[in-house]
Amino acid sequence: MSLQPLPPNPCLIAILLVVRTTSEPCIVFHYPPRPGEDNSPFKGIFPKDGEGSSTSSSASESEDSTAELPKLDNKDEGQKGYSPPDAEETGSGSPEKSGGLSQDRKKLQWNDIFGLQSVLLAKLLCPAANCHKKRFEVGLNDNVFLGWPVFARSDGSWKKARKSRRSSSRSKITAEKVKGNPKELIGHKLGVSGTDDDSDSSRPMTAVESQAEKDRDGEVREVSQISETSVRSKAKPKAHKRFGDAGTSAPKTDKPLVMFNVVFVLKPPPLEYHLRLREMYDNVVKKFGKALRWEQARSNFVARESALIYSLTKHMNSSRAVKPSLSTLYHDLVAQSSLAKGITNLYNSIASSRIAHVSLTPFSSLSLQIPIPSSISTLPSPLEPQLPGLWLTTTNSIPPDDDAQSPHLGSHFTLLLLSDVPSIISDLDAAASPIAKPLTQYLRASSPRKSFHQISQSSGIALPDVQFLASHLIYWRRARAIPPLHHKDIYIVSPNADMRKLAAASSAFAKLFPALPPLPKILSLLSMGSRPYHTLIPSKDHKPIYMDILAWLMRECWVTQLRTFAWVRVPSHIKEAVNKASASDHRDKSTYHTVTDDSDDTSTSSLDVPDSVSGFRLDVPKSNPVSPTSSTHTTLPFNPTVLTQSPNLISNPRLASALPSRHLSAISKHILQTQGEESQSAWDKCVKYFDGKHAMETIPVREGWKRKKVAALVAGWEELGVLVRARHW
C-alpha cells in the first residue's frame, strides 16, 4: 500500500542556543525554561521552582553548584571520594545544606536542563569544526539534540564584525532600553567589577569571569584544556572546579564568536525516529540555522544577541543579586532580545504544529513550518495509524498532464477558505503583508463554487496572479484547493470523518445555520446513497444557504466529493470483430505472432505506438489476459478463444498499445454506427479521460460542454457496454 502520512507530531521539547567563543561553549538561551518537565509556555507556571527562597541560602547553593558535578546516579560515590575537597568541607559545614531538598533545588540552576549542568551539555553540543554546516545529531537516552552548527571561517569573516559588534551590542542595548542595570552590564564587560574579586568561593560564575577577564584568550584556552583532562580523570578537584567555572563564563562579550548551534531537542517515538528528525531538520533546523548564519554574517546578529541575552541572564548565576522568577526573566528576555523572542516563538509554534513567524531583525523575518498533510488519498485500514478528520480525496494526487501548474492549482480548481474572510483580512492587515491589497481583492471575489478561471474572469485578476495568491493562502494553511462545489455533484459522508467531533460540530452547526436541519440530519440524508447534492435542497430559495452548508461540511471534512472515474471496456463483440479483421489482414502465422507479442510484451509493443511509456505497466489491454506464467498457477483451465472474447478494460487509452488501440478504433466505429457522428466525435475527444484518473466531473469544464450533454453521452456509451464507471473520492 501507499505510504500513509502520519499525524503531525513535532516531538519538540526544547530549543537551545549554544555558542562558543574562543574559550568554552555555553548554552546561552534555552526555551522552554524547564524543558522536559513542562512543555507549556512559561507564563506564570513556575512558582514551584522555589526561586524566591533561593536568595536566603544563595551562598551555600552556589558553592554546591561547583561541588555537585557528579550528581546523577553516582552521586553518592562522588560525595565519598571524588568531589572537590573544598566543596565537601563547605558542604558538610554548611547547616543549610543538610536537607536533600536544598540540594535538589540548587540543581535547578536556571540554565541546567535535563538534570545536566549546562556546561557539560554545552560541551556535548559543541561539535568539532568539521561539522560546519552539517547535520548535528547527538542522542542522550530518549532525547535527541539536532542542530546545524555554524563555525566562523578561518579567515574570520566575522572578525571584521568584531569591532563593530562591541559598539553595536552596546548601542543596541541602550537603544532598546535594557531593563537590567546597564552600569553593571558595562562594568562586567570591562571586567572592573569590584565584587568579582572577593566572591571567588561564593560566586563561581563571576569569579571565573573575572579571572577569565584577566587572562587573555590564550590563557583561558589553557585553563580549559587542563580542565578537560581533569574532568575525565576526576582526580584534580581544583581544576575540576576551575573547569566548571571556565565553562559557565564562556560567552565573553569581548571575545569573537567562533561557533553557534541552535539545537532542537526532540523526543521522537522510536519507530518514527528517522521520519520525525528528517521533518524537523529539513523544515526547521536547517532553515533557521541558515537564517541565523546570514544575519550573523550581515550584522553579527547572533554574537550581538547572545551577548545581550547573557548580560540579561548573568545575574541568575550570581548569588548576590535578587533573583527574579524564571517567568520574569523570560519575560525580560523575550521583550529585549529578538533572538530569544524568535526562539520562543519558534518553539511555541512548531511544538504545536503551527507555522512559526520569526522576525530576527526589522529587515529579515522568516516563516517555518513542518508541513502537515492536507488530505489523504487512501482510507487507513484498522491496522494503520488513523487520521480522522483529514480530507479524503485523490484530487491532489492526479498527475498534472494538461494543467502545467502544480496539480491542485489547475485553473479548474478553486479555494476553500478554512476560516472566514473577515478574519483572514484582519490578520492580513495586522501582518502588513506586501501583497495584502491584491489578497484582499482576491478574497472578496473568491468563492468555493467558482473555479480560478471563473474568478479570474469575474474579478479581473489575471489567472496566474489568482493562482499565486491561492498558493500563498494554501501555504499559510488558510485555504485548501478543491474542485469547485457544484450542486449536481455527489457528496458523501467522508469515511474518514471524525465522528468523535460530531456532538461538538452539530452544536456549532446549529449556531451557524439556525432554522435549518441539524447536522446529523444532513449527514444522514447524505448517507442515503450516492445522490447528487441538489436532491437535499428543498427549494430554489434554499440553494445558496445549502451551498454554504456544503462548503462548511467540506471545510470541516465531514463530506467528500464522490467523483466518477471511467475506463474503456472492450466488449466481446468488438474483440471478435477486431480478431476477425486482423485474421483476414494477416496470414495465419502472423496472427500467432501477434498473440505471443501481446502476451509477452504488451507494454512496449514496437508495432505502431512509438510513445508507449516503458516504465508504465500496461498489462491489461491485451487480447489474452492470462500471461503464460500466471496461467500455470490458475486452477481453472481456460479456453483461449473464450478468453480473447471476454470483455476487459483498457487502463490507459492515451498510451494504448497496438491491440488496444485497434480495439479503441473499433469501438469508435461502433459508436458511429449505433449513435451517430456527434457521439463519435465526442467519444474521440473524451476517450483520453477514461483512464480512471480523470474525474468525469471535470469533462464539462475542460471541454466547455454542458453537464447534461456529458451525462447523456456517458449514459449512452455505458449502455453500449464500452464504458465502465466507478465512483470514489
Partner: protein, 447 residues
C-alpha cells in the same frame, strides 16, 4: 547491519583512545582526517563525546550520528581509588549506518557495556587485560559479536567460566492498533503450525476460532474464554502481524470502492489472485463449500478474472450486499461472496460503509414516557385482549427492552458503528433497527 564495534577507553597518558576495533582500521584514530575513504569514522573529533565527562557516563544511551554513521554507546565510568586518576572510563560503541533502524541495537549496547562494567568491577577484566590493541579476548569477543549479530541476529559468547554474553536482536514493531469486540481477525499465517508447548492456554483455546468469520467477541464466547484474555492474546497476534482485522460480513452490509480500485483494474495479476481466491470450485463436486445449496450448473459462465473489476465497480454507497445480489443472482452460486468482499477489504480497494447512530435528543423524556406507559399497562392489567400471563410477559419484555435501551443509549453518540452496537448488545442488526425506530430521534449516518 552492524558496521563496526569498537572499544574506546580513557587512557591516563594518551587521553581518549580506541583500544579495540572490529573490523580493524575501521576507525581512523590519527589526528588528521584521512583522505582515503576506507575508515568509517575519524575518532579524534568525537573522542570527547564518546568518552564524556563522568556526569554523562553511566547515564544511559549516548548516540551520535556523524558522517553517515550512527554510533550507539553507553559510556561507563567506574570510580575507584585503585585506578590511576581514581577512575576507569570505557565505552563499547556500535557503528551502524546513520539511516538504519537502530532501536534493536540499543539493548545490545546497554548489555555489552553493563556486563563489562560488572566484570570490571568484580575482576578488573578490562583494565587488567594486558593484550595490546586489536588482540586478546575482548577483541575476539567483539569480533565474534559483530559476525554473529550480522549473520544470525543473535550471539552466545562465553567470556569466562561463569559469564556468558547472550544477545539477540529483537525487531521493534509499532504497538498493535486498538482491538474492538466487533473486529474479525483473519490469520495471515498458519497459526496451528507455530504452536509450541510454551503457548498460552487462552491462545490455544481461541486459535481454532480465528477464521475470518468470527468476531472477537464471538471467539471469546465460542472458546469459552475470558474476553479480556482473548483480547490480549489477539493483540499479541496483531503485534506480530499474524492476523488482519476485518469487519463482520453480513448481507445487510454496504461496501464501496476506494480509490485503490484502479490498482485492481490495472493489474491482471491482482485479478488472477482475486479470481483464485473468490471463485467456488466449478459446480457439482463442491459439497465442501458454503454457499451452493442451490447450485444451478446451467447458469451464465463463471466470471473470468477480467469480469471481477466490473463486479466490484457495481458496488456503491447506499447499496447493501443483499440488494446488490438481487441484480446479479447467479453470482451466489459461483463466488464465495464472503471471500469476494474480504479480498477487496484486505487489498484496500473496498471499504465497509459503517452505520452510526446519533441521538439528536436525549432519551430522558423518552424514558419517562416508557415508565409512564409501563405503569399504565400495569394499572390496566392486561387491557382486555390478552390474558394476564401475556400481559406479564409483555411487561417483562418491555422491562428488558428498557434495560437494553438504557444500554443502547450510550452507543448513540455517533462514534459507535452498528457492528459494534450489535456485538456489544448481542442483538441482530434487524432488532437494533427496530429499537432505534421505537426510540425515535435517531439519525443514522453511513460513513
Amino acid at each position: 547491519m552492524l558496521k563496526a564495534i569498537f572499544l574506546a577507553i580513557f587512557d591516563v597518558d594518551e587521553g581518549p583512545k580506541v583500544l579495540h576495533q572490529v573490523p580493524a582500521s575501521s576507525i581512523n584514530t590519527s589526528p588528521s582526517p584521512s583522505t582515503s575513504s576506507i575508515p568509517l569514522l575519524h575518532f579524534p573529533p568525537i573522542a570527547n563525546t564518546l568518552i564524556p565527562h563522568p556526569t554523562l557516563c553511566n547515564n544511559g544511551l549516548l548516540q551520535l550520528a556523524i558522517s553517515h554513521h550512527r554510533i550507539l554507546s553507553y559510556p561507563q565510568c567506574i570510580e575507584h581509588p585503585a585506578y590511576p586518576r581514581n577512575a576507569y572510563t570505557f565505552n563499547f560503541c556500535l557503528v551502524l549506518p546513520a539511516d538504519a533502524d537502530f532501536t534493536s541495537y540499543i539493548p545490545v549496547t546497554r548489555k555489552l557495556n553493563t556486563l563489562f562494567r560488572t566484570l570490571e568491577v568484580h575482576s578488573h577484566f578490562l583494565s587488567s587485560d594486558p593484550s595490546p590493541p586489536n588482540t586478546g579476548k575482548v577483541y575476539a569477543l567483539c569480533e565474534t559479536l559483530l559476525e554473529d549479530l550480522n549473520n544470525y541476529s543473535e550471539a552466545m559468547i562465553p567470556i569466562d567460566a561463569s559469564n556468558t554474553l547472550n544477545i539477540k536482536l529483537f525487531p521493534t514493531y509499532p504497538p498493535p492498533p486498538p482491538l474492538h469486540p466487533h473486529h474479525v481477525p483473519l490469520a495471515t499465517v498458519n497459526l496451528p503450525s507455530l504452536i509450541d508447548s510454551n503457548w498460552d492456554l487462552t491462545m490455544l483455546l481461541i486459535l481454532p476460532h480465528i477464521n475470518g468469520i468470527n468476531s472477537v467477541k464471538q471467539i471469546a464466547l465460542l472458546a469459552d474464554a475470558d474476553y479480556k484474555l482473548v483480547k490480549k492474546s489477539l493483540r499479541h497476534l496483531l503485534y506480530y502481524g499474524c492476523i488482519l482485522l476485518l469487519d463482520i460480513f453480513s448481507f445487510s452490509a454496504i461496501y464501496a470502492c476506494t480509490a485503490e480500485i484502479s490498482h485492481l483494474i490495472e493489474s491482471p495479476e491482482t485479478q488472477q489472485e482475486c479470481h483464485r481466491y473468490v471463485l467456488l470450485p466449478p459446480d457439482s463436486n463442491s459439497n465442501s463449500s458454503n454457499n451452493n445449496e442451490n447450485t444451478k450448473p446451467t447458469h451464465p459462465p463463471t466470471p473470468s478474472p477480467t469480469d471481477l473489476p466490473t463486479l466490484y465497480l457495481s458496488l456503491r454507497q447506499g447499496l447493501p450486499v443483499r440488494a446488490w445480489l438481487l441484480e446479479l443472482p447467479h453470482l451466489a452460486t459461483q463466488l464465495d461472496l464472503r471471500r469476494f468482499f474480504t479480498f477487496g477489504v484486505i487489498k484496500g480497494f473496498l471499504y465497509r460503509v459503517h452505520k452510526y447512530a446519533f441521538a439528536t435528543k436525549k432519551q430522558q423524556s423518552r424514558r419517562m414516557k416508557w415508565v409512564r406507559e409501563e405503569s399504565d399497562s400495569g394499572g390496566g392489567s392486561g387491557s382486555g385482549t390478552s390474558g394476564g400471563a401475556k400481559g406479564k410477559e409483555d411487561a417483562d419484555k418491555r422491562r428488558g427492552m428498557k434495560e437494553g435501551d438504557r444500554e443502547l443509549e450510550r452507543f448513540l453518540d455517533g462514534t459507535h458503528c452498528f457492528d459494534e452496537i450489535c456485538t456489544e448488545l448481542m442483538i441482530s442488526e434487524k432488532e437494533l433497527g427496530q429499537r432505534l425506530k421505537t426510540r425515535g430521534d435517531v439519525q443514522i449516518i453511513c460513513r
